[in-house]
């Protein structure tokens, strides 16, 4: 046995040991995360089958999967997921465009920003779900209303965040542009906008989540399709399997959006070498 300890290979260096430990740590975390999910599902399934919880109200993983399989077979689920994804992405893109343009205008005109400030603050703190019934009356039920609902939740906060990001730019850097003979336009394009990119990206990450919230609120009230509609419908006819399936699908969608934005962020940061 003693012979085994004689190492024919070179001793691992300190760096190699560190790398190994780092890798091991991350594997452990990933494994434990997965284990937690599996454990949760097992406990849920077992308690439903043994009657600890009432599977009529709390459903069970197997029932949810069975429902998903059925909805995949008749393709109905794809239409619902697709419309919710579409509405969320359109809301998100419009929020981004509208807040970028508005915040830019506010930056250009001190007067305009002072005039609009209280309105923005009020609109931002207003619970946007209160507006949804109005949108239905004005725009009817359908995709348009839901996209507007999605926009309304995110847009005011987004404008404020974008504008704040622009304002946080170092005034001396703007002075530098002026000393080089630049205009206010140059100051915006060469300094303010590139310097704000990290803050714009983090606001964007929040916005995609808010757009999803708005779209689901819209679908609760004014839709015949989409995950929000399925959740409301499922609760009204006491099909809790349907409700829980859709909540789980929303979890996956929210995570997908977050990861997507994170990848875009990573790409931009790498390109700008921030």
């Amino acid at each position: 046995m003693e012979n085994l300890k004689v190492n024919t290979h070179a001793e691992p260096t300190k760096q190699e040991l560190f790398m190994r430990q780092h890798l091991r740590h991350h594997r452990q975390i990933a494994l434990l995360r997965l284990l937690l999910l599996v454990l949760f599902l097992i406990v849920w399934e077992v308690s439903a089958r043994t009657g600890v919880i009432d599977s009529f109200f709390f459903s069970s993983p197997c029932k949810v999967m069975l429902l998903l399989w059925e909805m995949c077979k008749d393709y109905s689920i794809f239409g619902h997921v697709g419309i919710t994804l579409f509405e969320t992405l359109v809301s998100f893109l419009l929020v981004f465009l509208v807040s970028l343009v508005t915040a830019t205008l506010l930056w250009y005109s001190q007067k305009l920003s002072e005039i609009l400030e209280p309105y923005l603050v009020v609109l931002n703190s207003l619970p946007k779900s209160a507006l949804a019934p109005l949108f239905i009356v004005w725009l009817g039920t359908g995709t348009k209303t839901i996209i507007v609902a999605g926009i309304s939740v995110a847009v005011f906060g987004s404008i404020i965040s974008f504008y704040t990001a622009f304002r946080q730019c170092d005034p001396e850097k703007i002075t530098l542009i002026y000393t080089l003979g630049g205009s206010r336009r140059d100051a915006f394009h060469k300094v303010v906008l590139p310097a704000s990119v990290p803050l714009l990206l983090s606001t964007t990450k929040v916005n995609i989540g808010l757009a999803l919230v708005g779209v689901i609120i819209g679908e609760f009230l004014a839709a015949r399709r989409g995950l929000g509609y399925l959740i409301i419908y499922g609760s009204q006819v006491f099909q809790l399997n349907l409700v829980i399936l859709n909540v789980l699908l929303l979890c996956i969608i929210a995570m997908g959006f977050y990861k997507g934005i994170q990848m875009i962020e990573h790409h931009i940061r790498k390109k700008m070498q921030l």
């Binding site: 850097k173 002075t175 542009i177 002026y178 000393t179 080089l180 590139p194 310097a195 070498q273």
Partner: protein
């Protein structure tokens, strides 16, 4: 026949207004800077030195008075001014090369001739191998050189330096300020340096202008002649005349009433 002046300030007045009232910053301020001369402006802090530079650079308009260059009729005409700020303000999202051509880009002057000039400067200032690097990878001295190239790229007639090295630590500052000023002198440009550091003013400038307390006006002008023994950054500070200049400036600033 005198040497043509690069800059003539005549009776410049400036005050700023707040809700609490009016503050006179500059009062009947007049002085000349000759072509190729290196002038330092000193004064107690808050006396309006930076306001003065902003006016000369055209960022602020004086309430009255004229700023003229090379035109004896006194008509208002700004010289082409290059401004070195307190920090280098190189943009981290641009490479060194992209940073130094920023002024050319803004003024739509990216001609082959200018680009060649910038490339020449990058080579002369030992920055050629760093042109693709980010500013964060440069030392304090190299950043200042890059900032200088950015300013020189527009071929200014007059260089304004607003305490340009004050963000550096003391040791770096001694060598960088000597280095940068040597490089500027080699271009033969006229320089106006604003500083609160008396030793810096004496060791770098041909002439020191002392401003009074607010409202600032020219208190006195002292030509500097130093006997240099070597060309190290500390040479000027070791010159035999240094201390007497220092004491004189100190006295002038201490009783700085207008």
């Amino acid at each position: 026949m005198t040497t043509p002046y690069m800059l003539r300030l005549q009776n410049i007045n400036y005050s700023y207004h707040t809700l609490h009232g009016e503050t006179n910053v500059l009062k009947d301020l007049s002085f000349d800077v000759k072509e190729g001369e290196f002038v330092a402006v000193v004064g107690s802090s808050g006396c309006g030195k930076s306001t003065l530079l902003s006016i000369i650079a055209g960022l602020l308009s004086p309430e009255s008075g004229t700023i003229a260059v090379n035109n004896p009729d006194g008509s208002l005409h700004y010289p082409r001014v290059g401004y070195m700020l307190q920090h280098d303000h190189l943009f981290e999202w641009r490479s060194v090369y992209k940073n130094v051509i920023l002024g050319l880009e803004i003024n739509h002057m990216l001609t082959q001739e200018r680009i060649n000039y910038v490339n020449q400067l990058l080579q002369d200032y030992d920055l050629e191998q760093f042109r693709g690097k980010r500013p964060g990878e440069l030392s304090g001295g190299m950043k200042q050189r890059a900032a200088l190239i950015r300013t020189l790229a527009l071929d200014p007639q007059l260089l304004l330096l607003d305490e340009p090295f004050s963000a550096l630590d003391y040791q770096t500052r001694l060598s960088v300020s000597a280095d940068i000023c040597r490089l500027i002198r080699r271009t033969g440009k006229t320089m106006l340096l604003i500083t609160h550091d008396l030793s810096e003013a004496i060791s770098l400038a041909d002439r020191v202008i002392v401003l009074s307390r607010r409202p600032a006006t020219v208190k006195c002008e002292i030509p500097i002649h130093l006997t240099l023994t070597d060309d190290s950054p500390l040479a000027a500070r070791n010159a035999p005349e240094f201390n007497s200049y220092f004491n004189r400036l100190w006295e002038e600033i201490k009783n700085g009433e207008p």
